[in-house]
Amino acid sequence: MVLEEALLPLGCQLVRFAANTLDIKPCTGCSSCSGKTYGRCVIPDDMRQVVRKITECQALVLLSPVVFGGVSHHIKKVMDRIAVLGDPRYRMKDGELVKGIHVPSIRYYMIGVGDKLNEAEQRTFLSLHEENRKIMDVKGKAFILESGLDKGSLEKIAKEISHE
């Protein structure tokens, strides 16, 4: 909520979903979205609404407590299901294979919340975002937020997200 307060004065229109209140089932790995029902997930739940909104946005921000150097299972369910937006075709970038995403202009941010996170937890969290960003071939950044973070730091993060 505090981050929203920092984003709104920058002219951002926000759409917020609370992953733990939605009916989002785990990805079953059926591969239908990259074959039989290309680009469409066959699971009928709230993720359809979330995916539609993501395709309309300029930035996607995933906010989660840092859990074992990653995100909570609620946010991970969302991440796994975002695969439906992935381009299944491969290409080369910086000498490595990448796949891309059907919303190529979207910027991708992850914010990990946690107090007294050790160096390994922080590094692992940031590495997850970097791997996501590379494989989707999008721009974006990850941040670590402590609960007592000052207003100035929050405004700085909000400015980066709003791409001011």
Binding site: C27, G29, G39, R40, T55, V67, F68, I82
Partner: protein, 214 residues
């Protein structure tokens, strides 16, 4: 190794995929029983089995650069339950990309879980290009000449109850060079496009959810 001493957990929603095949290769040496992570419902029974084990081996696919959500839910629930007493934990993660760094977060995640919950992290094995196996034996892997002995060495480490270094899978699966990568990209894309056309889809069309906006 006594059967009751080891829990072999398949974290894939697919019962006969690559994660299960790799775990079966472990089971053939260590004994024990492969348990599939239930995709819904309570997890307490499984956590109890993990707490009673001396060794836990978790094998799962790489979804968006780490293990699937349901395994993270298991780790969160197990962490809340507590009750671990130094169990040895090994991890296996497999994904489509040929790079170790693409999938390595899964092992780092398990290591942090172990360190925060009184388990003993013993290392793991990353298998690149694992998705192409699609449940076929490891001998069918593109790089089987190096990968099979490396994985079998990893299994010996589990059997002996000793740590397994990352260098084992890293040295067996060096990143492909630019030429191979280019060929790989074309070959894989050819297969993807062929599959899409078989199902009557235009690979160049905007995604389903973007079309809806038109």
């Amino acid at each position: 190794m006594n059967k009751s001493e080891i829990t072999l957990l398949c974290a894939s929603p697919r019962r006969n995929g690559t994660s299960a095949i790799l775990l079966e290769r472990v089971r053939a040496v260590t004994g024990g029983e492969v348990i599939s992570l239930p995709q819904r419902g309570p997890l307490e029974e499984l956590i109890l089995a993990m707490q009673k084990s001396e060794t836990i081996v978790i094998s799962g696919p790489c979804y968006i650069n780490t293990y699937p959500a349901r395994l993270i839910e298991l780790l969160e629930t197990a962490s809340l339950a507590g009750g671990f007493t130094g169990q040895k934990l090994y991890g296996i993660i497999n994904g489509g990309m040929p790079y170790m760094h693409t999938h390595h977060h899964g092992l780092a995640c398990l290591q942090l879980f172990a360190e925060q919950n009184n388990l003993s992290w013993q290392g793991g094995f990353v298998l690149g290009v694992g998705a192409m196996l699609d449940g076929k034996p490891l001998e069918k892997h593109l790089n089987h000449k190096k990968v099979v002995p490396a994985f079998d060495q990893f299994v010996k480490h589990i059997e002996a109850g000793i740590p397994s270094p990352d260098s084992l899978f890293e040295q067996a699966q060096p990143a492909p060079g630019k030429l191979v990568t280019r060929i790989f990209a074309r070959l894989l894309t050819f297969m993807v496009v062929k599959n899409l056309k078989k199902h009557g889809h235009d690979p160049n069309a905007p995604g389903f959810y973007l079309q809806e906006q038109d």
